[in-house]
Amino acid sequence: MVCEGGNSVTLRHVNDVIDVDLSVRLAGIVLSNPVVVASGTFGFGAEYEPYVDVSKLGAIVTKGLTLRPRDGNPPPRVWETPSGMLNCIGLQNPGLDGYLRDHLPALRSYGIPVIANIAGDTVEEYAKLASELERHGGADALEINISCPNVKRGGLAFGVDASSAAAVVAAVKDATSLPVIAKLSPNVTDVVHIAAACKEAGADALSLINTLLGMAIDVDRKRPALGNLFGGLSGPAVRPVAVRMVWQVYEAVDLPLIGMGGITKGRDAVEFILAGARAVAVGTGNFVDPACTLRVIDEIRDYMIRNGFRTVSEMVGLAHRRE
């Protein structure tokens, strides 16, 4: 922080002079800045109102939604790991109706794009959810969670197999005219292959990464630490894997990318942007510092001023340039 904030007076001053444009376009929606929240880490926004002016975010991504409400997994559901955490929430959510009734009105009041993260047990459920959300004005874009490792049913389901991934994307595209963002699982041998299949199937953008499949043993109880055995690993620990995947997909697939995995600082966000992400999501970082998102936005702006960037696009994928 010493580095970033050291001469903030100068920075603010420069800020008045150089005009930094933080806005980005992504899958047909315009974000006032590239920082969104990662699904499942910000609830439906209201939870963070005491700490954050939610209307300042680039967009809000909802907790994963399913057609019907879900109870989620038995506790313990979270477990701390080195620079990271495991979770096995198990998609607890109010279901489509509960979402539309109890959460959407407040979400809409922020005046920022709402991206609904959707999950399902079958291709048909995804499609149904997508069309219902569109019909009720429940979202400005959809993020398809094909990668959540928490829901038991057959393990990693759609996200680890290119053809199933493509099938979900295609079905959702068919069911709605909303922009569709496919959220990829990192638990695969070849993420580029899955990414390409999602593009082929019509995805308008890609989010990466979801959590890494992990587990912990409680050596005192001599048992798996989490109620559901395995959990999703998130937080700073996973950032090198996430940045690598953003880099690989950026090289191979021509779609806008939302990068996430362990962002807690402006410099982390810039790492993703230089690797190829057009927007970034803050997930676990919200738990560490509830105002993390707004700080990241400020720190990206500072970085841009310091390095002479006027738009975010100038930075996207810049680390790929050849000399």
């Binding site: 880490t41 963070y48 313990p76 559901r77 929430i89 919200n286």
Partner: protein, 273 residues
Amino acid sequence: MPVSANAAVKTIRQIISGVFRIVLDCPPIASEASPGQFVHVAVSGADSTDPLLRRPMSVCDVDVFQGGVTLVFRVVGRGTRELAQRREGETVSLMGPIGHGFELGMQVRQPLLVAGGMGIAPLLFLSKSLRAAGSVPLVLAGFARSRDVILIDDFRGYGAEVHVVTEDGTEGMTGRVTDYMDWAAQEMARRKPGNEIEVYACGPMPMLRAVQEWCLRSGVPGQVSLESRMACGTGACLGCAQLVVDPGGEKRYERVCREGPVFDVRRVIFPSD
């Protein structure tokens, strides 16, 4: 509304081996907090991402005029160890006050407070508030042994009647604290006949389970403060789930950080093992 703030350490003191009392300078939390609520404490240095998550700590006392927030915690792992190393003048990042605390209601009933180990921390603040509301709480304070006993003088200072119970009998009465709930209830009934009692409890899970059994058996209402592993502390992550049951018999997960940490004792479904 909770706040996120950097609070300076006013004082920090080891009160018994491994247990620290820290007073933090945080006027907004001091004035907003009610008994049973907690704060979510960042334990790492600003630049370290390990340990990553915040630690929940009950508000043990507040000084509204001085803006002080008192926490009393036991060093059990890395986070509490780091916290214990803070010195006066250094700052600690806090979120709070958080959660649904104890309901004091109209106080038509006599309060019976049951504490197990570190579970005593939130009951001090509760005791003070109950006293201010006109009740004299009877406190059963259970510890493993004499050298674990803490906060008793503070309770007495706030006008509560405290009975210490130690498992090994090295101080006060011998046994588990819940073994003395019958006795306490009789005592309270004897002193104020006709006036019914309400239980407020905080402590380890087996103790709370015994409290629940006692309350159900005795038909006495109660409120218990639960612990749970937490990530966000805002209600967003759904990580701190606790299984509860509605009067209608429907079960669901509620958030210890939001609907809790204090629950109606009848609603809680403790895990089977």
